[in-house]
């Protein structure tokens, strides 16, 4: 067994190396292909070489690294764990054994119809059936559903102020300092762009439009406050008890709650930990004193001005994007790669599209210190991570967007015996922790997409399994998401590199194309980065594994395709779908050029 494991890990490494060759060869190819439609001899040779290498390595059983969990014929090869069963099988022990769940494309039954543990509503020795810790996306959904199923529930929520003193109401990250204010500021930025375009469309607009930061902030904050109010009304209406207090464990069934009015001890049969996370600060001088995070930005009481955004995850890029659109000068500092975890070809295009709009990227730099000058400006020193070269520049604002930390520290999890893992909590496919009566859901769980709709659905399903008749588990795969950069990027399913990693480059076909949105012509907007691709099975049914779209209203475009992909979309179906004209979403129905063909993916004419 251990040999097999070792073996398979070994071959994964090897296959990764091949795919690197592949991807780099392919990237080079796409770049060249625009000018020449001939396959480079070099590429063919390398591909041949890689294929041979792969054949030799897939001889043994353990060598089936890119095992095809989506192809039913491959499933009896059970010795290596396909990507989608790894988590489930890891958790089998805790869940008490049973059938592993496969990827939903081919084994939905196992996922949804498997007997799960159910908690009886006890009315036993405890104050409550359920204490939900955290009143964010996951916690509120879980608490409301549990009450609807008849459980006695209390939901705790408490927000510690940021170092700058920013605090907010009930509802968690998404409503207060996440999705909602972010999308509103993105919209503000898009509107500015639209006003400029309006002139080309014949509107007489005053050329000198400028944003009023304070007005924007107060509009956004007023909206948030009314959402907070509606949340509280909803909780009261649905008879969910809500306590504004910080919870920490005394033992697996007891919690103390720190409130304004003093401490209180309560007991419960079951707990759901839904505490989410908060932004990290780097461990460098001046970071906490002078820097801010997304927790402060959306309510900042002064214009951000020239801003250094440290971090190129989606939050950093989105903030830089709307700051630019609002007329400020953001610079993005990238330690290693842009949009880690996303398809890297698309990530590169997103970064390029931002640079084209005048947002500088400092690649391979890490900050060293932040000092406040007598002028009030912030002096930031930073270092090139390879050459060690040190540079400095002054900014009005420094925004840390270097990642988020799970809020495990205040919970005193040791008192309850709950294990943590890299400031997150590991759960099995029932969202159960290592302690039988304690569950975790939302951003706090390790290794799952950190998105509001994921948190909401997982929280609701958990409550239904605990107190309702349901056995349905959360399906964390193929979750669509959008990066709200000035040119938006949305995707669902596998990235190209993950598909290659899982199935092998030879089994993947990528259909791609650049396109020109109709409404971009008149204002002469750049179409350089309007690009999309479908990552699919190369042979057989040509299942679509992933869809990627860079362009306007990306989230609206991808949401429907996400349902199609989850229903087993194939390239054939996609090509036989009639588009809606003129839209940009219809470009998915027009994809016909494969990367492998080396043909030019740029459109020949504007509106064929």
């Amino acid at each position: 067994m251990s040999l097999t494991l070792w073996n398979s890990r070994f071959s994964i490494t090897l296959v990764r190396q091949h795919t690197t060759i592949f991807t780099s060869a392919r990237t080079a190819l796409t770049e060249n292909a625009i000018n020449s439609s001939h396959l480079s001899q070099n590429f063919l040779q390398r591909r041949h070489f890689a294929l041979n290498l792969m054949k030799t390595n897939t001889g043994g059983d353990g060598g089936r690294a890119p095992s095809n969990s989506r192809n039913p014929t491959n499933n009896q090869r059970g010795s290596s764990q396909p990507r989608y069963t790894r988590n489930a099988s890891m958790s089998q022990g805790a869940a008490g054994g049973g059938i592993p769940f496969e990827h939903p494309h081919c084994d939905r039954i196992a996922m949804y119809d498997y007997e799960s543990r159910r908690n009886r509503i006890t009315r036993g020795p405890y104050d409550y059936d359920l204490i939900v810790i955290g009143g964010g996306s996951a916690g509120l959904a879980c608490a409301k559903e549990a009450v609807a199923c008849g459980a006695r529930v209390v939901c705790l929520d408490y927000v510690k102020p940021t170092p700058l003193g920013t605090k907010w109401g009930v509802g968690g990250t998404c409503v207060n300092v996440g999705c909602i204010p972010k999308k509103l500021m993105h919209q503000a930025s898009l509107l500015g762009e639209a006003v400029h375009e309006a002139a080309a469309y014949g509107w007489n607009v005053n050329e000198k439009i400028k944003p009023d930061w304070n007005k924007l902030v107060s509009s956004v904050q007023n909206h948030i406050k009314s959402v907070n109010w509606v949340t509280r009304v909803d909780l009261r209406d649905k008879k969910v008890e809500y306590i504004n207090g910080l919870g920490s464990f005394l033992d697996p069934h007891t919690m103390t709650i720190k409130m304004k009015s003093g401490d209180r001890k309560i007991t419960s049969q079951t707990f759901v930990i839904a505490v989410g996370g908060r932004p990290r600060y780097p461990d460098i001088p001046g970071a906490v004193e002078y820097g801010i995070t997304s927790d402060d930005l959306f309510s900042l009481n002064r214009e951000p001005g020239k801003t250094l955004v440290v971090g190129a995850g989606y939050i950093g890029l989105e903030c830089a994007g709307f700051l630019k659109g609002l007329g400020y000068e953001p610079t993005v500092m990238v330690r290693s790669i842009v949009l880690r975890g996303f398809d890297q070809q698309m990530a590169g295009l997103v970064a390029d599209s931002m640079e084209e709009r005048g947002i500088p990227f400092l690649y391979q730099y890490v900050p060293l210190s932040v000092e406040k000058l007598s002028s009030g400006k912030l002096l930031v020193k930073y270092e090139h991570s390879q050459s060690g070269e040190v540079r400095s520049d002054t900014f009005d604002t420094v925004l840390w967007a270097i990642g988020r930390k799970g809020l495990v520290d205040d919970l005193n999890l040791a008192n309850a015996g709950v294990h943590t893992f890299k400031d997150k909590i590991q759960v099995d496919s029932y969202e159960a922790t290592n302690v039988p009566n304690i569950y975790a859901v939302g951003d706090i769980i390790y290794g799952k997409p950190e998105l509001t709709p994921v948190a909401v659905l997982a929280g609701r399903l958990l409550a239904r399994r605990l107190y309702g008749e349901s056995t349905q588990r959360m399906d964390y795969t193929d979750v669509a998401t959008t990066v709200f950069t000035p040119l938006e990027y949305a995707c669902v399913g596998l990235s190209e590199e993950d598909a290659v990693k899982e199935f092998g480059a030879d089994e993947i076909e990528v259909f791609h194309g650049y396109y020109k949105p109709t409404e971009f012509f008149i204002p002469q907007k750049s179409v350089r980065h309007c690009y999309l691709k479908a990552v699919a099975e190369r042979h057989g049914e040509q299942r679509v594994y992933g869809l990627h779209y860079l362009g306007p209203v990306a989230g609206e475009v991808i949401q429907g395709f996400a349902a199609a992909l989850k229903s087993g979309l194939t390239i054939k179906t996609l090509m036989n779908t009639v588009g809606i004209h003129p839209t940009t979403a219809e470009e998915f129905t027009r994809l016909n050029i494969t990367k492998r063909s080396g043909l030019d993916p740029t459109p020949a004419s504007c509106c064929s």
Binding site: R232, V233, D237
Partner: protein
């Protein structure tokens, strides 16, 4: 004690709010409901249902806060989509009755105005 005011129509309402705002920062709650005919009967059934609940819960409102009951007018006047109560950015009324805290996020409308729990929450809310 809560200070109560009764006004009728948009002009009286705006004048009253101006006057109260001039008075300083005391909390003001406003209830908008459909007008009554000469027999004291309202065309708006939810308003009728809400009134006793609200006047009972008013005990929970802070001392020295104000409560303004606005008679919006006849049904046909209200149903006109250009009715000034609908257009005013501070009221933006969509439903009757609506109970709100002036220039604050707190707002209840329709059937929720006759939910004792929610109405008390409105008057007690500290945020």
């Amino acid at each position: 004690m809560v200070v109560k005011h009764n006004v009728k129509g948009y002009d009286e309402f705006s004048k009253k709010m101006e006057e109260l705002e001039g008075n300083g920062s005391a909390q003001v709650h406003v209830l908008f409901s459909g007008g009554k005919d000469e027999n004291g009967e309202s065309w708006c059934p939810y308003c009728v249902k809400a009134e006793p609940v609200i006047s009972d819960a008013l005990k929970k409102a802070p001392d020295n806060s104000h409560f303004v009951h606005v008679d919006v007018g006849e049904r046909s006047y209200w149903k006109d989509l250009n009715c000034p109560f609908r257009k005013d950015p501070n009221t933006h009324l969509i439903f009757l009755p609506t109970l709100l805290r002036w220039k604050s996020p707190q707002r209840l409308d329709g059937e929720r105005c006759s939910n004792k729990d929610l109405v008390e929450m409105m008057f007690e809310d500290e945020d």
